[in-house]
Symmetry: D2
Subunit: 356 residues, 4 copies
């Protein structure tokens, strides 16, 4: 007779702030309310393959009574970005069985969740998903774990770069994450006071940027400019004037730098800043902690209610469950061309591609 | 013949981060898109009485091309907390007419907006409201300007106080704003790792707190505790054991300190921290900047569309207009006893009053 | 035969940021370089009385390989603010012997270090001191652990309060720590843009403040003001005009508020903010981490060199050892009336008491 | 008869936090104490060539009474990084005369100050220098404007990167500024918990790094590592094992990444983060504000005392004047191989090149 329900939890895909906060909530609620045994699965699905678990009890990581999981970015369980996971489906399903798991909570972005969804269907697991991604491209939820912190991190960097750009009359091109979805560039660009925002969903033209920069200088006497560009931004086909550097060889920001250097007759002082990995790190913001905690609590309740194949979501100002299949069929979620923030950017006079 | 529409804008009630960001968005969109004249009304309705305006043109506050309105807390227009406004209705309506305003955008909490709503009805103004309040108690909107920054400010303070409480095995009682609504204490308490959260909507008992503190110590070997209490928290009637100090004479936090000192047989080392005015200040977070910008843009569009008596609101992940009358009839918005964050707090083992 | 040197380490007095960073450096250097056994003594001298130690090995607190001691404020060893230490000298010396300590590193302010100095002399201990205090009042060292973080914390609060004071045309009186020494108020006041700085070393007059506030308003059209006052600031004897509230009954800030309210004929809108315990907390700044690390390393080397009765100090841009007796005879270190920062404050037009 | 002394002030070289704070102090003290006319020279010496000045009066940039110069990074006067300045000596000297300057305060790093020193000698100007540089390589002063903020910015980034490195078991190589001096990498590396610190002054070997990483993994079970490398770090000649990429073609961090990837038999998961321009930006820390304010005040007093060819310096815990010639002959100031922070890094088990 197995007395205690065994709940596994894993974090999958690129790390972000708030993962540990989810883990903390799942452990607290699972143990305090339901008296379950909560087992961390290290390194996402790799832990299943290797039959490894990390014991998770209440206050188990406390230092002098302080729970570090609330403040620490990243994931105490470890994660992997990708793997040959689907080549090993049988072995993964055996792993789940060998670990005697009764249910699993998986935290991931749309890629990781798609893999986990396949596994849970084939393995007939009880599985609840929690969305995390700094790209904010998971469908059917207004909030995901990690996005708010990443936006604040970028805004902080934009503040810094604005001071230095203004001091030297420079055009500063700031490359941020976002291969296929531009939420991060869009939100951080508006909040950080960008003059130009380039996202994958709305192609831009070099001529459009150059014209906008000229207008800033000539009409508004602005002598500097901030361009926020998602790494996956797309240039309209015939827009390049001068192709010294080809994306992706040199990166999107450097490509734009070369092009607008040319269209300004080499007069602009242009610098590139690729923010890179710092966007993933950091102490989670209050909102990411709340979202993470509420999702962790909801996921445990969904498990207790016998649900499976659902994702905790934030909709209409509340935490709700949505079908994971529905989420995945609509993910990655792109920025709509008539998104109110796209229209807001235009209303502020920001160049945001050819839509304007 | 009057060529240009004259749009007034005022900020009313206690200041908070994001007000300047609203002003910036209104000025940009009003001028760039609609070519209106935008006039700041200083010190809320007092500016109407005194027929004063502050000229607001694009980039008018720029310093070396940097727009300080994005980063500055508070309000460049000035505000007043309260006034004998409604004794001077006729004069206020004359002021609006003398300033030749065609429309007005008013940013305020539920108190200020109620006054402005009366004025606009009597004066037959074209009026659009934007909700701001660190208390988050305006109905029919999921987000208001200023709340997210205030929550982060309190969480930052809780982090600091946790280190010092843990080092000295102390009970730290932290009093935060919230006279009638506990959203601030609830959100910051969960995000900041509080052990006890006391809000106006759910009466607490001194015995309940003492029992919880004893359990933390005896069962979990925690030697310190963090209590977050809204200034308007309510004690259950017959709960006081030892009444050395009467709220509101000494403040809610000090009252609790005296009581639990007694119930612990004077053994607990207890400290009080009243966070006070720092909760209103600070550079706005990315989310407050986005909400403020989106609301400012939406308010201008509502004016352009001929709407009046509406409030810009964040609902279902979008910016929408709601009838100001409906908002006011349901404000101040209290924390529901079955609010998902109340249930989340309980799930984490936090004492949140007698509901638990 | 005892193979390994046993080094004890304790933290004494009020906590501050950087204590854990000292502990981390002592443990790393003691173990890696000298192969000593390092023992934490919990709760300052109380641990000696109770013969308790906390094992400190390399990476012993690591979470997923991250060393939390670098980022955590407070002290992992616990501390006590005061105790009947000197009534129990014999017992404390027995404790040291029973724990078989070969040497002790004590981190404390001037009060704690004075006690430890007596003990080491009587007990003939090998003892090295490291200065920590947010008050910065330990003599013969340019830097102490914790001060830089505390100054930054106050400056951050002043920034917040300035926004809200300016929005409402208020006089904001901010009370900071500093019973007998005003370094904290002086440094934070200058860095945070205060208009008035009141420190224990330079008596102020209510008339002087009122005159200065009037000048700000009349000559410079400033409609708000920020007053930073150390809790131990001293009013010149016959200065009070209106004594509704007596320090220390209501606190220094409230006293000043009442007085200047009177001298302004009740016209000023005045608010008080007592920063309190948040000044002690927080993640240590880079400088406090460097000072803490360098002091920890130096203390271990001093032990290895057979030194005793010395304090690690920062002098002339270097870490040096000074005689603890010399330090204590000149502590607490007061702000000199002709201190260059006092003169700097005056040069900026800040009212800093009757010296001006 | 010229009634008022005309004091010019300019900022030269790369911008950094605290420049505006210097300007604020010079303006306040020059006007309040000495009743001088203070003139900003835009874009360093370019302003002299173009005979341009920016009027600087008390509170001239105030927004609602708040002085933004205290909080804004960068320089309100503008700057240029370099120029053909010395080809135009005669013209520059004419510019100084045409602007009728009686004295000049120049804020710059060692490169800019060397140029200004030549000009003041030839032009017989009254000239006082203030040192600023995030590289901290100006001799004869313990502190310079901008360094403390830059170190804190890097430490904040290291915290973020540590979370993500630990979550994915990665080696994170972080490239920071420092072409010829390694103070920035050294201080930030120690304060930020780096495992490896590489600076220009101490050549490193790829083998040494690889051996250290293996030891971290094998002996301490650390599965990630943080390498902080100054852009000008130097590899020992015969150390490269695998030269896929040649510095400076791909940058120092990428070079190291390629090399250690090879020496780990391609087993390590290595990422590169080049922090870039964000290191120059940001709101100045309390210490940078104090240093900037104290230097600005001192420079004005030196002008008033008739001094010239001096630099304001922080020595022995005080502000002093040193001869600019002496400063320049000893700048850029390198990290000494036996610098106490180098020894501190070694004591913590950090690999810091072949010196260890």
């Amino acid at each position: 007779m197995k007395l205690q329900k065994r709940l596994g939890i894993l974090t999958s895909g690129g790390d972000c702030p708030g993962l540990n906060t989810v883990i903390r909530a799942v452990v607290s609620h699972g143990i305090l309310t339901y008296d379950w045994k909560v087992l961390g699965i290290p390194y996402a699905t790799k832990g299943l393959l290797e039959r490894k678990t990390i014991p998770l009890s209440l206050h188990s990581f406390d230092l002098r009574g302080i729970d570090p999981l609330l403040n620490m970015g990243g994931t105490i369980l470890g994660s992997i970005n990708k793997g040959d996971t689907l080549n090993q489906i049988d072995e993964l399903i055996c792993g789940y069985r060998d670990l005697e798991l009764d249910a699993l909570i998986g935290i991931g972005g749309d890629g990781s969740l798609a893999i986990l969804n396949k596994l849970q269907i084939i393995g007939n697991w009880q599985f609840i998903a929690i969305p995390k991604t700094i790209d904010n491209d998971v469908a059917l939820t207004d909030r995901v774990v990690g996005f708010d912190t990443a936006v604040n991190t970028i805004v902080d960097s934009l503040n810094r770069l604005t001071f230095t750009a203004a001091s030297h009359d420079r055009v500063m091109i700031v490359e941020v994450m976002g291969r296929s979805a531009g939420h991060l560039a869009l939100c951080a660009g508006i909040a950080g006071g960008a003059d130009v925002i380039l996202i994958p969903e709305i192609p831009y033209s070099i001529k459009g940027i150059c014209k906008h920069l000229a207008e800033l200088r000539d009409k508004w006497e602005r002598r500097f400019a901030i361009i926020v560009v998602a790494e996956g931004a797309k240039v309209a086909d015939d827009s390049s004037l001068y192709k010294s550097c080809q994306t992706p060889n040199c990166g999107m920001a450097q490509y734009i730098a070369d092009e607008i250097h040319h269209c300004s007759n080499n007069k602009l002082d242009i610098r590139v800043s690729v923010l890179g990995h710092i966007q993933r790190g950091g102490i989670p913001t209050a909102l990411d902690r709340l979202v993470a905690t509420a999702f962790g609590k909801a996921a445990v309740d969904l498990i207790a209610a016998g649900e499976s194949g659902k994702m905790a979501a934030w909709r209409d100002g509340q935490v709700k469950a949505v079908a994971l299949d529905d989420v995945l069929s609509q993910s990655p979620l792109h920025v709509a061309k008539n998104h109110y923030l796209v229209e807001t950017a235009s209303a502020l006079g920001i160049y945001i591609g050819n839509g304007r």
